[in-house]
Amino acid sequence: MSDCPVLVEMRGIVKRYPGVVANDHVDFTLCSGEIHGLLGENGAGKTTLMSILYGSVKPDAGTILVGGSEYKPRSPRDALKRGIVMVHQHFKLVETLTVLDNIVLAARGAGLGYSRAELRERLARVSERYGLYVDPDARVWQLSASEKQKVELARALVLDARILILDEPTTVLAPSEVEGLFDLIRAMKRDGRSIVFITHRLGEALAVCDRITVLRKGRVAGVIDLSRERATPTMLTRIMFGEEPPPPPVRRERRRGRRVLLVEDLWVRGNRGHWAVRAVSFNLFEGEILGIAGVAGNGQLELVEAIVGLRRPERGRILIDGFDATGASARVLVDEGVAYIPEDRVGMGVVPGLTVAENTVLRGYWRRGFYERGVIRWPAVERHAERIVKEFDVKVGSVSFPVETLSGGNIQRLIVGREISLGPRILVAYNPTSGLDARAAAFIRRELAAMADEGAAIILVSEDLDEILMLSDRVGVMYKGVLLGPLTREEASREKVGYMMATGTGV
């Protein structure tokens, strides 16, 4: 198929999970010194395929050759011996240890005989060579998501990985940081390393890859050699979905109503005690979507958590329709009509061990209809859950199954359904579509648009600039705890907002 020097050859890989075939006789080749994109919707089997190569998932059938010899990893340790490292979407770092400790730990685990001092030295050299500056003595929990990613990459390089598998590495990055990652990937390629770049974003795959393998529903839908053929996003979309992509959201009305939220001179501290939000003031009106863009870690989370009652502001006021909601609890705010779609779906948005039905009243179990005469009315809760499951197309066998059996996209549908069913005046959504496949993302964007059309006020915090520009009526940018703007829809061009995100100026 290709005349490049083949480094990894996976043949006829099959992996079944209950109810789904994650990989259905997948063939995959990785050439030495290439950047190979693995493209597909969520649930297409990309991560499973690479986890098999990485030794963390055992295939049901198929063979793998690495460098021409047979390779049957029993664990990631075997993978590391062949120079294969995977950087996961959810980082595998020990939060309470320092950066260097994490690297020492990995080196010991891999049976590499480097001393601590040698590893420190190697880390410094890797940092120098690739511009991956990380403080070896910083504790991991103090780092932002993009810094943690740098730590993972640096660790892979210190351990001299020849094959790097990057699982959706751009989801934690701001648009301006993505180019930096691509430069890094290209630099690694120049040094003869091979990279598998897992993504569901077409543009990124086209920007950086030499070849692309597209997976659809567990099968290879196509392999494109970009050095030989021209590929367009439309063409890739068709291969990915096998049909036309889902329609974009439409705002029918853009009519601004009464003011429902006033935030005045708000100061909020972050987890490390620093001022995460500084003197933020803004208004929010009925029927509008206020987009808040910004690189992760610039105070968006703290601002939003103060508004929804998860974090107590130190100074300032939050007024909802005249009600002083400053420092009110999340439960009071739910009753005041403030819904919240948190970023951390599995950790915060649901209780994985409880049933789907129980999760649909996680916020609202105290309300009439569910709770009467001192007793939670489970039959009423179950009917409510069945409505949400049906209306928001949550795929689950029964509402009495635990939520942990649901996929990420279905969990998000459940959360969105629950929050919308609260009948909110104000809906706060934080990265509501990150990591979701195009279909689920489009569904959620359409729901948000429809909510605004019906008069709800929406705050949309997103690291996906396209999403912000697509949906918002006004766009603000969070930069080092300060809210810039908001700009009107007309003023907010991609370039202008991107510049504000990167520099904090340009209003």
Binding site: R16, L310, A330, G349, L354, L362, V375, W378
Partner: protein
């Protein structure tokens, strides 16, 4: 809470397998120490056989299970929210002291029918207050509850010993360290015990399944972050859960003095560690009220047979504790086995 049939099968298989291993290990230890394993089995099964006087023996087993059963029910409440109450023993001892005080010194001044309710209230309140301390320290200052609850057990031992030796000692007791006997109206039998068990187990079940508090503590137990998102007050739930947990342990103490001994003696002679055995029963029953009752009855059988084992085989109380320890080991390790079985079930 509700399991799919295949998962329930996995639970049963895992528990059966690990309990069998525990029994085999115990049998092996008995054998190597020169005891007859069949003799042990005969004595334990003689709780049910031959059928003469069976109802008397069954009620004796039942009463012997109460000091484990009540703390175990209470521990369900604390453990379900992930609050590691290791202090059921201390809560049981102070409940026992409070019940003694009512049963010995207050009973003749109270109308007969109100003595038992007064003892129940006193024992519950005492156990609840003993548990409230660690709960408040945790909520206010973030003090680890494992340490505080455990340490308070030792304090409770000395408190009981102090009371019985210096305050409540029977002047006509020939110098024995014990209180005067409980008033006749302050004693309980199997019937009163059964009423209390049904009430307590029913309330725990109802509380967990149907009340806001129960739902909230299950949410906290699964995901503290989601609990914050739901606007649940960790402080309020912790305090209420510990009041219930400690109160039920206190009832266990009352069942010792009112059901078994009829008088208060030094702590070491009152409890062989019922509160700790309650932890075993709670895990054996997988924190489900009905199953915990069943596990407690089984442990009650062992306790009830203890005196017979001692008399006929010279098997010391240490072996009972060893047996209980093996059971806990089995109960905890079975969760791992269960997980593997479930995964296998899902794949197959």
């Amino acid at each position: 809470m509700r399991l799919k049939p295949s998962d329930r099968l996995a639970t049963t298989l895992a528990l059966t397998a690990s309990l069998s291993v525990a029994l085999l290990v115990f049998a092996a230890i008995l054998g190597t120490h020169g005891y007859s394993v069949t003799g042990f089995a005969r004595v334990v099964s003689s709780g049910f056989w031959p059928p003469e006087n069976l109802s008397w023996r069954l009620s004796s087993i039942f009463i012997n299970s109460l000091p484990v059963l009540f703390p175990a029910l209470g521990l369900i409440v604390a453990f379900r929210m992930g609050f590691w109450n290791i202090g059921a023993e201390g809560q049981l001892l102070v409940g026992m002291a409070a019940a003694t005080w009512v049963g010995v010194f207050l009973a003749d001044r109270l109308p007969g029918a109100s003595v038992l309710p007064a003892m129940v209230v006193a024992a519950f309140v005492a156990g609840a207050l003993w548990a409230a301390g660690p709960a408040l320290l945790r909520v206010w200052l973030g003090v680890n509850e494992v340490l505080t609850t455990l340490m308070l057990n030792y304090v409770a031992v000395h408190l009981v010993n102090y009371l019985v030796e210096y305050r409540w000692k029977d002047p006509r007791g020939f110098g024995f360290i014990r209180t005067p006997p409980l008033h006749e109206s302050a004693r309980i039998g199997a019937a009163e015990g059964a009423v209390l068990v049904v009430l307590a187990a029913g309330l725990v079940y109802f509380m967990l399944r149907y009340t806001q508090l129960g739902f909230e503590l299950r949410i906290i137990g699964s995901s503290p972050k989601a609990a914050r998102y739901a606007g649940i007050s960790y402080a309020k739930v912790t305090l209420l859960a510990m009041l219930i947990s400690g109160g039920l342990a206190g009832l266990g103490g009352m069942s010792v003095v009112a059901g078994l001994t009829g008088e208060l003696m030094e702590a070491q002679r009152m409890s062989p560690g019922y509160g700790y055995t309650g932890i075993i029963a709670a895990w054996l029953g997988r924190l489900h009220p009905a199953a915990v009752v069943a596990a407690s009855l089984f442990l009650g059988l062992i306790y009830e047979r203890q005196s017979v084992l001692q008399a006929t085989m010279r098997l010391g109380v240490g072996y009972t504790m060893l047996f209980n320890g093996l059971l806990l080991f089995a109960a905890i390790s079975s969760t791992y086995l269960e997980k593997r079985l479930r995964e296998a079930g899902r794949l197959g």
